[in-house]
Point group: C2
Chain length 307, copies 2
């Protein structure tokens, strides 16, 4: 059991119809490790500036997250500013300041290099490849990416895909990467490009897992209050890989459970701004909601007389 995440640790400014927050904790590695640490041991590789309020990561340390790989360098921390309307599925980016993240070079120490499962957050695919060149014998590699890299670093992404077990993208990214408007065809094309499985994240509509052998769909948990969807995707990834690492298994059965775990923890994240809900979340809360997913999708076969 050992899980590594390489990604951003950021300060976010977010506005939704339900309020606004300035310079609050954010970033893919942060959401990921807050989520995965409910299930397993996580190491973070990332970078922050000397303006970063490091005490805000104390709760991660208390959950056993190893932050030795989080470099602190001179300069400002990565900042993202975004806004959501009533359609909380769509973020509008108002400003992105890479700052110290611009010259980030992931350096893995001995512990990180030995990680069994790895999440490559949404960073330059060149850097994602450089991480893979440093790890020793990973059992499962999962990568996120985005439209910007699909356009600007396509060739590099195509080199990455055969080294990836699970590619995690949204509908639009899957379509763009594959050049296919139909999501199932897009997923099939991505498998042909080398990934062993694709997870298509669909925000409030759930997530779809497609592998060579089968498809699995988990809905999002129906919530009466969604405050801030920021970080839902990275929280999903944390729950997904956190469970696979905890189970030490990559079977079809475990992948399905992992998708539901991802949806479960993501459903808590969006109930509050930033990582506020994740800070206090317990595995008991998570187990309870995981179970209620069962009844959400449970139905009976048709009786024989309907024929």
């Amino acid at each position: 059991m050992s899980l590594l995440v390489v990604g951003s640790v950021a300060l976010d400014s977010v506005e939704t119809p339900f309020g606004a927050r300035e310079n609050v904790l954010g970033g893919s590695a942060t959401y990921f490790s807050a989520s995965a640490s409910l299930l397993t041991k996580v190491s973070v590789v990332g970078v922050v500036g000397d303006d970063f309020p490091i005490e805000q990561l104390e709760f991660l340390k208390e959950r056993g997250v190893a932050l030795d790989g989080l470099e602190k360098v001179t300069g400002k921390t990565f900042r993202w500013k975004g806004k959501y309307g009533y359609d909380l599925n769509v973020a509008q980016t108002l400003d992105t300041q890479l700052n110290v993240f611009e010259h980030f070079q992931p350096k893995l120490d001995a512990r990180a290099r030995a990680a069994e499962r790895i999440f490559l957050g949404n960073i330059d695919p060149e850097l994602q490849l450089r991480v893979l060149d440093q790890v020793v014998r990973p059992k499962l590699i999962c990568a996120d990416t985005m439209n910007y890299w699909i356009t600007s670093k396509r060739e590099t992404l195509l080199k990455l895909l055969p080294r990836v077990d699970v590619l995690m993208v949204n509908d639009g990214e899957a379509r763009q990467l594959a050049g296919e408007s139909n999501v199932m065809r897009a997923a099939a094309a991505i498998l042909r490009l080398g990934a062993r499985a694709v997870v298509v994240k669909r925000g409030e509509y759930g997530a779809l897992l497609v592998s060579r052998d089968e498809s699995f769909y988990a809905p999002a948990y129906p919530l009466s209050e969604v405050i801030d969807p920021t970080g839902a995707g990275d929280t999903f990834a944390g729950g997904f890989l956190g469970l696979l690492d905890r189970l030490e298994d990559g079977s079809v059965r475990s992948l399905r459970q992992a998708v539901v775990m991802g949806c479960t923890i993501a459903s808590f994240t969006v109930e509050a701004f930033s990582l506020d809900r994740l800070r206090t979340l317990s595995l008991a809360d998570v187990r309870q909601r995981y179970s209620s997913f069962k009844s959400l999708v449970q139905f009976d076969e048709l009786p024989d007389h309907v024929a």
Copy 2:
């Protein structure tokens, strides 16, 4: 076992990225009865003009659909013209000609009045109420509506809702009717307005059933080829009510099965233009795909040691 649908029988002109068809068979009552007749006896109440190619409904008669309630009057048949881009979830209406449908007054004969289950297609809520005034002792009433009626006939709709068991709408319609941006809150508000349950149709993302006691989510069947989404919603309604009528039951268990049946038959409709796929569809095909929904959403509980 007896099911009545009141709605449009139309001639559609449709363009999708995969082709175009002019003046082909369409309309809510047509799609509904083609779908429901795989499961039960259906009566249609509607109207067509003297330009309507009535022989195109021959396949419905062969499936036992009673068309006595389909009036033929002087004038042109209702026509709809629409277009879809690669996002097949969104139809762009190019033209609507109500024609003979403008002065449609649903008149129910003895058989139709005695129907046990009723689908009120998306027509003026005044007419929907007038249908309910004619039926004798229905066991289940399901109604569709749309943004146009929610805006222009709100008061009438509010009179209809307490008489409805299941309201069938899409996300946007649910939000608009309830004045709530969150879909779960919108559904709860619609229940307070009198409906016993709400089915939120989500196109390629499936369907959500919300009643006072519980929620159920069925994904859409993941298809590699979607040609024309026209009629998917009415086909869904046909499968939903067709199964409830066949099972002669409105229990929570049956409602869940009915949602999956709706998704199942709708997944065939969109594989071809107009009613082309529905014409040749058999209950055996339907049963097979219904079963594969099981494996699509099946997952195991967490092992006890994950705690």
